[in-house]
Symmetry: C2
Subunit: 322 residues, 2 copies
Amino acid sequence: MPIGEFELIEKYFSRLGTRRADVVLGVGDDAAILAMPAGKQLVAATDTLVERIHFPAGSSPRSIGHRALAVNLSDLAAMGAQPAWALLALTLPAPDPDWLREFSAGFDALAQLNGVSLVGGDTTSGPLTITVALLGFCDSAYLARSGAAPGDHLFVSGTVGDAAAGLAILESRLSGGSPESRTLLQQRFLFPEARVDLGGRLIGIASAAIDVSDGLTADAEKLARASGCGARIDVSELPLSAALLDCAGPDLAREFAVAGGDDYELCFAVPEQRLSLLADRVPARRWPYRRIGVLNESGQFEYHAGATSYTPARKGFDHFLR
Amino acid sequence: MPIGEFELIEKYFSRLGTRRADVVLGVGDDAAILAMPAGKQLVAATDTLVERIHFPAGSSPRSIGHRALAVNLSDLAAMGAQPAWALLALTLPAPDPDWLREFSAGFDALAQLNGVSLVGGDTTSGPLTITVALLGFCDSAYLARSGAAPGDHLFVSGTVGDAAAGLAILESRLSGGSPESRTLLQQRFLFPEARVDLGGRLIGIASAAIDVSDGLTADAEKLARASGCGARIDVSELPLSAALLDCAGPDLAREFAVAGGDDYELCFAVPEQRLSLLADRVPARRWPYRRIGVLNESGQFEYHAGATSYTPARKGFDHFLR
């Protein structure tokens, strides 16, 4: 028996994520009604995943549900904000119960982990496309892209290049490495972790932040440009995972790290005088990050690998410039 | 020269709608920062339009931009809420400057009219799909679908069936009527007006409301079911426009009115004891609406046309039941 839109929403989407006391009216009406906590500002982001553009056709629906939320969590992480409520707009060719169960399980698990409640959405037929709008809170302080100044040090969290290499493995474009390394990189693409906790801890320390979704150099340049700066970045300092080195070797690993997208790490700037505050309050052994360069007044972007100059073969992903 | 994603957003989407003082940080960062007015609750809705599902391929981009916002304004209208901020997720095959200019002009004009500011979004390549998330405010009181009780009278605003007939004309499935009538019905599909003002005025008067997006009977039944009621609806009371009667004749006009979607009128319930308040505070000569039936305890839906019983051939639109 075919399932209708109403039943589909009721069955798979009426109770996803955390039950929050501030949800006055959730899924099932024309709109959600939400109680804002006093003294907070609202933070709002939206991101879309399209089949064949953001993930290969036939991808694991659990991964798609996870990623649809993760990419938005990452946007809020980059503001230093706390996520709270999500809206899910799901366009899908046909309502396959197995697919829907897995998709909603992937979304639900990550929502639970981050205290997010699904409060509304829309379900329509069409080419597989998922748009999540994520709402959350910040105090008067937040992290923007534009707050950095010349002399600020540039950092990136975690390791970069893993997700792009994982996608290359999924698409049979990368063949090296042990089974364990290959699995780990694929997981980095399929189930990225947004750095929500780190973002919140950087409030009052970082001068600017951006999430690394389009590739490290592309996103670092966006941060620098929004802050009216240039940058000098040492690509030999980019944090590479052992799995990436195992699968790609040192040269190709660096290319993945420089230009590969989908890591959802944070790139952030810290003024010289707050470096000790960063080390004290956000120790890198607990929330891993690494210094990769410095912002400057030049307005130019200069890359080097230790003592050698370096020119990125490509800088990241743009939807309309390939 | 091909346009990149960054330039595209800057050129077409950085300043749409009203400039609002409560937008702390708008388009251009990872998320928007918004100042909530004290004492208000947040209202949030999202709706998607997909090419070939919600509008014909090759539709006027100005209409698509208008409709993408209008369908969400209608959701807020159905809650009695005031719209404020929009997020726009636009997936499009290629960045055609003419298309983008027209699309953003259509969105902008309606946003201006409703005091809405575009505060963020996402632009990706893929099959043409537009998802807007619309945020707004309400006081402690709002209109839900579930507030009605047996005995409440059921109303619908404006006229119904026009948009479905307009789409039929656009798709060459309906051939009658004068050029003026045909144009008017097409405009009702292409540029629907959400009943935001009416929705706000119904607070404290209506016991429940829903917007008519999937077809009058389908949506009236949703309201009744959410309120634990059945309904008896007189289809001879459905408000029909002169243009619809001109193009479709009385019998087909009624079919369009009963089951046609996309009108974005409001269907609402009013308790007997508040009928005079409705007439006083929301006079139908200024905000047109008409009584079409009554809710009851039966849990069943009964249709009649004056003294004759009536069975709807079809009740509305479901994305996954055709």
